[in-house]
Symmetry: C2
Subunit: 378 residues, 2 copies
């Protein structure tokens, strides 16, 4: 097999080491036949069970259960927890109630995106940032210590399991009761099932609807996994994973995959989560973001639709986007779309380029023609 094919299919093993952590659902997902994994926040996350198209349609039409324990929690607890939470995100948290979650992008002192977590407010003095793939414990501890805050930053024993798809509500109601049907999007409640403590939230990294069970005792991983599996049987639930195709179709951002070390939130369509009237002396990133907002934007995020009819496979690299032979941006992901029946991807690209423009992608030595499009695709 040619080297590039090997590389793009990830056909090599992951060497065991305690630097990498298996999730409480690890054994259960192996028993389900997980065929590939990624490393996310130093944890193993299954990415496929060997039947990508079947996994995709189950998410779109039915219900799927995912090990997303790698969405690890950064807990802030103590007198200054609320103050620190607000300092760490560029989104205004004043309207966030106990029991509510908010998508809360984080920036550094230069206004660069450093994570895009979901914040859960468990109490006035207790918050979880459910994080994307970068180390926010170090970041939060550095800020808290340097500012002399009274807050403990730690990782609680919490492991999310996602139940996603249009039939997710039936499964979750079958387990927890009909009250879950009235739970609003991005709200949550602490509850328990068969002695297993958890936080139940209406959330998840897909646009197909669903819930996340934040398991609060890692010993019960297999038990919770199987309990969901059994309750979901009548809706044909099966093991899946955050779906590469669905998330691209839906325009969901992957921090670190679709962003680089100088991406600001405006470049990746997060404008509505940035509150520039937050106090700039306090909240990290607000001052530079005001300047950035006031100046001419350099890059933005668009979709790309390809002419190629053979399914394109993702890769570990960004690929240059050319217009009239000049590099104008990067293709940050790509996939075959089962609903659109064509190849699609995200472009992080010069603001000179607009939806409708024709471009070329340099991928594995070939130039692939494509057209820019608005996001989301669906």
């Amino acid at each position: 097999m040619p080297i590039r094919a090997v590389a793009s299919r990830g056909l090599f093993g992951i060497a065991p080491s305690a630097r990498l952590r298996p999730s409480p659902y690890f054994e259960a997902t192996l028993a389900e036949g997980a065929t590939s994994f990624t490393i996310y926040n130093h944890m193993l996350m299954p990415t496929s069970f060997g039947k990508p198209e079947e996994e995709y349609w189950r998410l779109i039409r039915g219900v799927s259960q995912w090990d997303v324990a790698c969405e690890r929690q950064v807990e802030l607890r103590g007198k200054d927890a609320g103050r620190l939470a607000q300092i760490l995100t560029v989104r205004d948290l004043r309207s966030c109630a106990v029991g509510q979650a908010k998508y809360a992008p984080m920036c550094n002192h230069a206004g660069t995106l450093i994570n895009d977590p979901v914040l859960l407010k468990l109490a006035e003095d207790r918050y979880w940032f459910s994080i994307a793939d970068s180390n926010i414990w170090f970041w939060a501890r550095a800020i808290a210590a340097e500012r002399g805050f009274q807050v403990n930053v730690s990782e609680p024993d919490v492991s999310p399991l996602a139940i996603q798809g249009p039939k997710a509500e039936h499964v979750v109601a079958a387990i927890f009761g009909d009250w879950v049907r009235t739970l609003r999007y991005f709200w949550f409640r602490e509850t328990a099932i068969e002695g297993i403590p958890l936080v139940l939230a209406r959330s998840g990294w897909s646009k197909q609807g669903g819930f996340e069970l934040f398991l609060m005792d890692g010993q019960h991983g297999a038990k919770l996994w199987n309990l969901v599996r059994e309750a979901g049987q009548q809706w044909d639930i099966a093991a899946g994973a955050p779906n590469w195709c669905e998330r691209i179709e839906s325009g969901l951002l992957s921090y670190g995959g679709d962003s680089d070390d100088h991406t600001n939130p405006f470049e990746v369509r997060l404008d509505k989560y940035v509150d520039l009237d937050l106090p700039e002396d306090e909240v990290i990133g607000i001052r530079p973001l005001r300047y950035i907002r006031a100046s001419r934007p350099q890059r933005h995020q668009l979709g790309v639709v390809f002419e190629a009819t053979e399914p394109m496979v993702p890769d570990f690299l960004w690929h240059p986007i050319l217009r009239d032979t000049r590099k104008v941006g990067d293709l940050t992901n790509c996939t075959w779309s089962y609903r659109l029946n064509q190849n699609i991807g995200f472009a992080l690209i010069s603001t000179e380029c607009l939806a409708g423009d024709t471009v070329e992608i340099l991928k594995q030595g070939r130039k692939i023609p494509g057209k820019l499009a608005e996001l989301p695709f669906i």
Copy 2:
């Protein structure tokens, strides 16, 4: 195959995503037949080429070349670079000259180890922390910004390639000239070969001696890899990787693998790299480390020698260590030692336990008897 065997052998693929970065040597190592990888600092690092025993003996008796580009550089540059470098490490840097490197453990404000990089002083206002597997860019930027320092924290285009083993010096001298033979341990020089700019250091993550070539232009990865491969032919060089067995025999620490989120440097034998007379108001971690040093230590790091004669395989988990049925610590790694002809590993264990004590390890449902030993083994 039983699930645990699958898990411990890492027999599943790594899903491609631009969240994970291939190194400039990636194609070259695939061409060499890399069979397993790990993710380290969000990069793919080959861990084996399918012949573990052969790779081991080549490191012990000959010379081996490794893709260690994942030892990424955190560059500090500017007026306050030196001041920030000292604030970030608990080792006194006053004696560090330009052209010299120092093993420089980093702690947080609680005295917990957060990385154990090698610091290279390139100029009075330019330093590289060549880091272990945790995000130090965020950490360094948080501290620099909160203290108002004039320093730029970035990642330069630098990718280390290690040449390790008793014959490494011959290979490096054949490429760069005999001057390399006089280069002292942990000193380096900026140089170039066939137009490829690099920093050449006498360093590397083994106790078999050798060099690291810090490639300063990622475009030349394959060229540098092949240049070393060809120059090393007469000494039978081949592709290898940081060697799991050799590093355990030699007592080398793996940050994040052998340490956890509350490990201090004294617990993992780093006492001699901690300078408690550094100013506690300035250098992060010194104040708590003074208290920790003055109080009774809780854990320390020892070796374990096992009675089991069948080679033990590493795992993604720590394993409990019992003495008289009570948990006294954790086994953080294990390996079959080719030189000792027995299984060995590291214990992070109560200071009540001493070398010579008999213990039991709980691993995959079995109790394996072992004896504590001093580190290093060899």
